[in-house]
Symmetry: C2
Subunit: 227 residues, 2 copies
Amino acid sequence: MIKKSAYAVIVAGGSGTRMGTSVPKQFLEILGKPVLYYTIEAFLNCGVDCSIVLVVPAEHELLAKSIVAISSKPSSIQVIHGGATRFESMKNGLSFVPEDAIVWVHDAVRCLVDQSLILRCYDQAIELGSAIPAVAATDSIRVVEDNKHKVIDRNTIQLIQTPQTFKAAILKQACQQEFNPSFTDEATVVEASGKEVFLCKGSYDNIKITRPADLIIAEQILSQRLK
Amino acid sequence: MIKKSAYAVIVAGGSGTRMGTSVPKQFLEILGKPVLYYTIEAFLNCGVDCSIVLVVPAEHELLAKSIVAISSKPSSIQVIHGGATRFESMKNGLSFVPEDAIVWVHDAVRCLVDQSLILRCYDQAIELGSAIPAVAATDSIRVVEDNKHKVIDRNTIQLIQTPQTFKAAILKQACQQEFNPSFTDEATVVEASGKEVFLCKGSYDNIKITRPADLIIAEQILSQRLK
């Protein structure tokens, strides 16, 4: 397989309201370091040489830069400002990525992403053009429509994660579309442009830090990895 | 509201394969007591006087009885044997529940169920005949069919929990049906009998203990509650 240059666009947009804290979730600390630090390090140490474009709200630029400064390779990271929507933020980040690169678009608050998932996405995106990590649902699932609900086979349900990974040219072309509220992630943007996207095996550990209990899980998993 | 007698049918069937242990998950220990102990205590202390029917595989009868013995009200609990399927196990348990009672059917491995959820289900089942706790999905969701997948509005997706709660007469009548593989939980059994079931607000804390990380979360939440 021919290797390609690799960029991670890490989007840090959340307001942290579900956490009940005023600090956005990507800046909360685990084992003395912010969530975002672990996310950055996962890509810097993934085994593929890569650059990182860190997209943050303007008011958090200094905080983000202080995290970059303690990372293992500050020179590989640039910090830029986000837009009004996740789509705009991602698009801003993507403008710093060369056309022929592979790009991972990743939630800053998924700090447990690991090397094998990052590489699996990279390899599949080279081969198929995209890699959208997904895991099967473990609960029973119902679909609610028009105030009615019906059960749906949980084996048909996939919970979608990041890094959503693409040949940059594919995502760049898709981003030329006007924003549409149906653009809930990069996969939906690329599909709206008429291209198929391909799932790959995600990881149950690769959780989004959204609630206080998630910080506890993250701390345990990270401290086991650091042993 | 006229109060009704209340029975919890707690189904302990799992084999624990995802946990990577040979001990079934309901018998793993948290803070020195088995998962099942906390599940039992949640119902014994829910604020409604209730009886518990504990359904376990025959080979775990002694272990289950030893947990009953350390519970706060052993005389309210009977231990019976399960069947080949969850449906059979639940049906065996239900045969010990009077026709005019309210019955919670609960997964033994959901040991974080709390008083307010148990009472919410009880009250709604008295009023509407059923209460199926559910929480909204927080990830993007895709549906996979015929090797294709498409995104689905995550606001329409509800993750179903237990205790699934019913007027016992409704569930008993539904259980007269022949077993069907579509019977994935009690709600689907009752729906197959032609009756509507009603969702109620679940709790994000009310997780199933299925993976090692879940034990860590459970320990944290339980130790905070014990403070």
